[in-house]
């Protein structure tokens, strides 16, 4: 039998007809369409049981409480804790992306010496050698925590010095240190915002990342937002229309750099018109001088002074370290009075500040809590702990520290808070590579130091023994009603917050000998500058690159 060309065509036609009645075309069409809906290179979210846990954000000194959604052991989302009396459920915008930070490409994964890979043992040896050779300086960004006490006692043991890089909000409270007696460190002072009825902000970004994100914004939204006669009057004195100025009850536009003159002018009006009981001291500046400098009219300054005291208590808040504003608060009688500057906790020691000159140090160890852009004024060998490498930084050693939720740590009262608080941030995720906090690193060099975990247990026991304050967890429990220290610690380790009872009296002895004559340069602040981490969450680009809502972060690096 001879196969002809015709047979081939007929056979082909038969096969084609057969194909139509076979599953091949239809099944292929289906599978290919499913394949196109699920490209294999599109990332897949994690599988696993969903749990919601609580912890605290440790990326800036405010330590906001957060709910963390976990899927199969990975954090997949963050939300505020509405029952928390400090944050009241609010978080800063950056907090909503922090769960992605541990995977940031700039995550510091291994020890680096002069930008070259090194190891922990080499870093330990180098630091131990430095300790033997000369004085060391240890810089901490979050004084008062369990880790801090390890850092401080190590520095003391080595006859070195322990220094603290304070947040901008706390630095704004520094001028009060000299005013009150006995001396109270700025880190133990706070603003009693809840009882103030008029708040005069001298450029402080009260509604834009100042202090605890939830505290003032919630107060303002309940007592002031959209009201023509608000319960809480917010007067913003600023040269430009900032976010806080757009939302303030009054925006007073002044010439840049004239806040000190306005404060002096206001103080003079308050005293001369007997609007306050204080008699001085006053600046040599007259009201018309102030008017000239601020570009306001004399009558506008007088009106402003009268408006300020119309609804007491009144509190002036400076955006940076500004003794003139502290003096204005003194004239207003707001230092140590309800609705003013109050003492938050028992007097603690006064810290040596990080920006003071560091003479002849052999080495400087910088904790991960210190903002990345801090550059020590020294040429000593620098050991820098950080979870992320934010780029140019002249640290000799870069040491990978725990990132987000990778460390069991404690959280103290937030700067500017009026009440003392204590919380414990549980470790929720396992570190992916070898990381150590500065405190762990130091404990490993000299094992005679108590590790931070033991100190946290000790602190919980001490707090329980005092039987004061309240625990805000799943429910609100006064400490006096808890059965045992174990129960107290168990609540705290689930990220409940201990809040001290409000002090019975706010009064502080204070004195102002003369009107301050210093006038430091104004320090403009970008919205992301309060962030201690070296990098921002990747999602932050929604705010400045994928929209024009905010200006791009200005990360000054040393």
């Amino acid at each position: 039998m001879k196969v002809t060309r015709r047979d081939l065509f007929v056979w082909g036609a038969g096969a084609a007809a057969g194909m139509v009645f076979s599953p091949v075309p239809w099944k292929l069409l289906d599978d290919v369409s499913i394949w196109t809906q699920n490209w294999p290179w599109i990332p897949q979210p994690p599988h696993g049981p969903i749990e919601v846990k609580q912890s605290f954000c440790t990326l800036c000194p405010q330590g906001c409480a957060m709910k963390v959604k976990m899927a199969g052991g990975c954090p997949v989302g963050v939300a505020g804790v509405s029952g928390n009396p400090v944050t009241r459920g609010a978080l800063c915008p950056l907090a909503f992306g922090v769960h992605q930070l541990n995977w940031h490409p700039q995550r510091l994964r291994a020890v680096r010496h002069k930008r070259v890979s090194s190891s922990w043992s080499e870093a330990r040896a180098a630091f131990a050698k430095a300790c033997g050779e000369g004085p060391i300086v240890i810089v901490d960004g979050r004084p008062g925590s369990a880790a801090s006490s390890v850092l401080a006692s190590f520095a003391e043991e080595q006859k070195g010095s322990y220094r603290v890089a304070l947040s901008l909000e706390t630095r704004a409270l520094l001028p009060y240190e000299a005013m009150v007696s006995p001396v109270i460190p700025a880190s133990a002072l706070g603003y009693d915002l809840e009882r103030a009825q008029t708040i005069v902000s001298f450029g402080a970004p009260l509604l834009d990342g100042w202090g605890i994100p939830g505290r003032f914004t919630r107060l303002w939204s309940e007592r002031a937002a959209g009201m023509s006669e608000p319960q809480l009057r917010l007067i913003q004195i600023e040269d430009s229309l900032s976010r806080t100025a757009t939302r303030a009850w009054r925006w007073v536009a002044i010439r840049p750099g004239s806040k000190n003159a306005l404060a002096a002018g206001l103080a003079r009006v308050l005293v001369e018109e007997h609007l306050v009981s204080a008699r001085g001291p006053l600046s040599a500046l007259t009201v018309s001088d102030a008017a000239l400098q601020t570009n306001l009219s004399e009558s506008a300054i007088r009106d402003l002074a009268r408006t300020m005291v119309a609804k007491p208590p009144v509190l002036a808040i400076a955006g940076d370290e500004r003794p003139e504003i502290a003096a204005l608060n003194f004239i207003l009688g707001s230092v140590g009075s309800p609705g003013g500057i109050v003492r938050r906790s028992k007097p603690t020691e006064k810290y040596e500040l990080a920006n003071a000159a560091i003479p002849n140090a052999r080495a400087v160890l910088i904790d991960a809590s210190v903002p990345w852009d801090y550059a020590p004024p020294t040429d000593a060998e620098i050991f820098r702990f950080a979870a992320w490498d934010g780029g140019s930084n002249r640290a000799d050693w870069l040491l990978p520290a725990p990132g987000f939720l990778e460390e069991f740590t404690d959280v103290n009262s937030a700067p500017t808070s009026a009440v003392e608080t204590y919380g414990v941030a549980p470790q929720l995720t396992k570190p992916m590579f070898e990381i150590h906090s500065a405190a762990q690193f130091l404990s490993a060099i000299d094992s005679s130091f108590t590790n931070p975990e033991t100190i946290i247990h000790q602190r919980c026991a001490d707090l329980f023994r005092e039987r004061a304050g309240t625990v805000y967890g799943q429910e609100i429990m006064p400490v006096a009603e808890l059965d045992s220290a174990q129960k107290f610690e168990a609540e705290l380790s689930k990220a409940a917050l201990w809040v001290a009872d409000a002090p019975k009296s706010a009064s502080l002895l204070c004195e102002l000998k003369e009107w301050p004559s210093t006038s430091p340069a104004e320090s403009p602040r970008n919205w992301s500058a309060a962030w201690a981490a070296a990098v921002l969450p990747p999602l932050a680009t929604k705010l400045y690159r994928e929209s024009s809502l905010r200006e791009a972060p200005d990360r000054r690096t040393a």
Binding site: D7, A17, G18, V24
Partner: protein
């Protein structure tokens, strides 16, 4: 019969044979389960009769799907048999703390949202209504994966034509829709997609 008809019929037969026999074998690749698990053994020897004893709901209503090693360790914390499978399960997975990487026959694409709570608790469907009868399997089913879409054969079902399907064979969107239509339940696209 003419020669043309014969040749045509031959072509037809080859295509049909290729389409119905060779194509399904070529389309799916077979993968072994990490552990030879038998539902029947568990039902007969240990008296587990309720699916929910191992395939449980979590407190928030989410269905846990295949049990984690913790559940298996309830009985298999140590060897309770001498088979090789038992040794694999206990030594390789339970004792090492590594979750058993089960291949899930009914895994749906990432854009599908399916709530067991709604279908089982509220609508009262039985497990076998969608999954078929698993409880009396006396040999490990081979996990067959579609080489193109990457999904299990259970999604299309074992019947290639989808005409002579047994109950619970096939888990395609049209199967969901058929059942919803029969019961008069209307949900929008995002009722089942995410």
């Amino acid at each position: 019969m003419s020669r043309n008809s014969l040749v045509f019929g031959f072509g037809l037969a080859v295509a049909l044979l290729a389409g119905w026999v060779a194509f399904p074998r070529a389309l799916y690749s077979k993968r072994p389960q990490p552990v030879e698990f038998l539902h029947k053994t568990h039902a007969e020897k240990s008296g587990i009769t309720d699916c929910a004893q191992c395939h449980a709901f979590r407190d928030d209503g989410e269905f846990a799907g295949l049990p984690a090693n913790d559940t298996c360790a309830g009985c298999h914390s140590d060897h309770i048999g001498t088979t090789a499978t038992e040794a694999t399960l206990v030594d390789h997975y339970i004792k090492s703390g590594q979750e058993t990487p089960w291949l899930v026959y009914s895994r749906q694409p990432a854009n599908v949202w399916f709530s067991h709570a709604i279908h089982v608790r509220r609508a009262g469907l039985a497990c076998a209504d969608c999954h078929g009868s698993y409880g009396d399997s006396d040999q490990v089913r081979v996990y067959e994966v579609n080489r193109i879409s990457g999904y299990s054969r259970d999604i299309w079902g074992h019947s290639m034509s989808r005409l002579d399907r047994a109950a619970g064979d096939g888990m395609k969107m049209s199967d969901c829709e058929d059942c919803h239509r029969r019961r008069g339940i209307e949900v929008g696209c995002l009722g089942c997609h995410q």
